[in-house]
């Protein structure tokens, strides 16, 4: 192993569970004449080399094997096949609050966490003021942890973790809790460690954090390593992956989630263009409309209609309420068709969108039906799929000689 390499992974595969139990089960199934089934592989033939001082971002969808990889590296769970070789002290920044006891105070728990993370008692006592300061818990530091909010608990764990000295740091999505200011503080501390020559492996779904912290990235999918390259390569590949999967989902029949009183049925819904053609793909800024056909069982006075466009992250990108827009039909009865027209289009970022629909009565504000995923469409355009909107824009530059 060359001097520079601190982590070497060769042909690593991992399947959870006791190998002995799996072998017994396999034997039993063979006797019973059924095909062997040992459960899924969490990691499949992963090869990886990380050098000293590198920062490696790891990204992948849920269940892709990111956490498993970190756990195997940390030595928490043994590999099923392959070879893992480490140089230097490794410190997993995962499950930072593991072991915390709710009845103990923040200070007592900090001591416990420090021991868990491998600090000596003397070191702990020396670092306790630092930890206290970093956590910014004030008087709460001496109160039982059961009174803490989840954000406060996260600060406690991170405050101890950041004070542990180690050559290789594994970070698994620890900033999900805590407010923005604290998240930034954590990122800044991690960046300091990296500048001090530490090796950092960083799992996150936050593309911004990954871009900020890493100089190299890998993408995992179904336990396989798909991409190993620059952070930009990693992010592109990941977006592509998520995008492709969403598209595949959309081609199947979408499961419509609906809550309804039964008096209103949504017959059909579609997205159409200026020629009235049904469309599933739209160009950015192209005018389009959404059409919903409903069947109303009994006459409905003063209907209120809501139509919203939601992106894959669940963010409402547009939200239109008929009454607010001055569209107030006196009543609905029998078959009705409602159209919402976007004259100038909507400058949404590339990606897949769904339409949510709700019908209420302004007479008593009773909700008659609410359905999400009524119809879907895809927005295509030049550039990448980051952000929510892509308005018309231009760059300018002014240089000072």
């Amino acid at each position: 192993m060359s001097d520079d390499v601190v982590i070497r992974v060769e042909g690593l595969s991992k399947r959870y569970g006791l190998p002995l139990a799996a072998a017994l089960r396999r034997g039993w199934r063979r006797l019973a004449g059924r095909p062997a089934d040992d459960g899924p592989w969490a990691l499949r033939d992963v090869n990886l080399e990380v050098r000293r001082g590198e920062t490696l971002g790891i990204i992948g969808r849920n269940g892709a094997g990111k956490s498993t990889l970190l756990k195997v590296l940390a030595g928490v769970t043994p590999p099923t096949r392959g070879r893992v070789e480490l140089r230097g002290r490794i410190f997993p920044m995962i499950e930072l609050n593991a072991g915390v006891h709710p009845e103990l105070t923040g200070r007592e728990n900090a001591r416990l966490l420090a021991a868990v993370m491998g600090l000596r008692r003397r070191e702990t006592e020396a670092k306790l003021p630092d930890i206290e300061e970093f956590c910014e818990l004030g008087e709460w530091f001496d109160k039982p942890v059961r009174m803490y909010s989840s954000g406060m608990l996260a600060r406690l764990g991170f405050g101890v973790a950041i004070n542990v000295d180690s050559e290789i740091i594994l970070v698994d999505e620890v900033f999900a809790v805590g407010d923005l200011q604290f998240q930034n503080k954590c990122l800044a501390r991690l960046k300091e460690s990296w500048e001090a020559g530490k090796t950092i492996l960083f799992v996150s779904h936050s593309l911004d954090a990954l871009q900020y912290l890493t100089r190299r990235g890998i993408v995992l999918e179904h336990g396989c390593l798909l991409e190993d390259g620059s952070p930009m390569d990693m992010l592109n590949r990941y977006e592509h992956l998520v995008f492709r999967n969403v598209r595949r989902d959309s081609s199947r029949k979408r499961a419509r989630r609906e809550i309804s009183t039964g008096e209103v049925t949504v017959k059909q819904a579609r997205v159409f263009d200026r020629n009235g053609e049904t469309r599933s793909e739209l160009d950015r800024c192209e005018p389009f409309g959404i059409e919903v056909e409903i069947e109303v069982a009994r006459a409905l006075a003063r209907p209120l209609i809501t139509l919203a466009i939601v992106n894959t992250a669940g963010v409402n990108c547009t939200w239109s309420l008929s009454e607010e827009d001055g569209f107030m039909p006196p009543s609905f009865s029998g078959a009705e068709t409602v159209r919402l027209w976007f004259e100038e289009g909507v400058p949404l970022a590339n990606g897949f969108y769904e339409v949510n629909f709700a019908l209420r009565s302004a007479a008593n504000y009773e909700t008659l039906t609410r359905s999400s995923g009524l119809v879907g469409f895809q927005m295509v355009g030049p550039g990448r799929a980051r952000g929510v909107v892509v308005p018309r824009h231009r760059w300018e530059h002014e240089g000072r000689a």
Partner: protein, 267 residues
């Protein structure tokens, strides 16, 4: 089976220090937290053997059990203190891995640390319960003899058997919860099969060889001899117990070593 290798720099001293540091922190956590929201606090450690003593005293008056010339209260209590330690320690070991699931999934330390911490904290309970025992010995004017020097050895022995059984229960119980569910019943059964309520002398002669295979017999009898009768433990019984402890360790520890590697997968 295919090959799998995990290599990382380890140095025995650092690992040992980490193990001890974690052990100390776990024991401190248990002791500090256990009674923090309870009214009776550490008195709980005394209540369990004390209540058994009371009900045994009652049963004795019904069944007319002999106590071989010593006051029955101290006769049974001197056996209940080590027994309660043993039963509680094993039960807690069975739970220790599960209740520390978060830690297990995070750090790659020797997994023995959790059962060992459980046994150590239970040992503190035994010390508390012993206070009453000392009080009784003074009250009943039990003579202080050189036999008491056997006490440390007996404590080590009961500690060893508790940890041995605890390792086995923890290893299997983490995968199959049935073992943990069976513990209260199993311990009750085992207690009745050990001379705690009654003297060993009342066990019928033809059953005695089988009866004495129970390694707790020698240990409990030893405690009683040393504490109440002022005589050293019976060497034969003690050897049987020692043998039992060794056998338990030879089985339980390797099983624990193997199973514990995969604890993080099962939790």
């Amino acid at each position: 089976m295919s090959s799998a290798t995990y290599i990382r720099p380890t140095d025995f001293r650092t690992e040992a220090l980490r193990f001890l540091g974690l052990l100390r922190a776990l024991v401190a956590r248990e002791l500090k937290s256990r009674y923090r929201r309870s009214v009776l606090g550490p008195a709980w450690a005394i209540l369990q053997p004390l209540f058994y003593m009371l009900i045994f005293t009652f049963i004795r008056s019904v069944l007319n059990i002999s106590s071989e010339g010593v006051p029955y209260v101290i006769f049974t209590y001197s056996a209940l203190v080590p027994w309660t330690f043993f039963a509680n320690a094993v039960t807690r070991c069975g739970l220790s891995v599960n209740s520390n699931a978060g830690l297990l999934k995070k750090i790659a330390t020797q997994r023995e640390v959790f059962p060992v911490a459980s046994v150590l904290t239970t040992l503190v309970d035994m010390l508390i319960a012993s206070v009453i025992l000392v009080g009784m010995m003074i009250w009943f004017r039990v003579p202080v003899t050189g036999a008491l020097l056997w006490l440390p050895a007996l404590v080590v022995l009961v500690w060893g058997i508790a940890l041995g059984c605890g390792l086995g229960v923890a290893a299997v119980g983490t995968y199959k919860r049935d073992v943990v569910f069976a513990m209260p019943f199993l311990m009750q059964f085992w207690m009745l099969a050990t001379p705690i309520m009654y003297p060993l002398g009342r066990v019928p002669g033809h059953l005695r060889p089988f009866y004495c295979l129970n390694p707790m017999v020698g240990i409990i009898e030893g405690f009683r001899n040393v504490l109440v009768n002022g005589t050293p433990p019976d060497p034969g019984l003690l050897l049987l117990s020692l043998g039992g402890v060794v056998v338990i360790w030879l089985v339980a520890w390797p099983v624990f070593r193997y199973m514990s590697q995969y604890f993080a997968d099962a939790l």
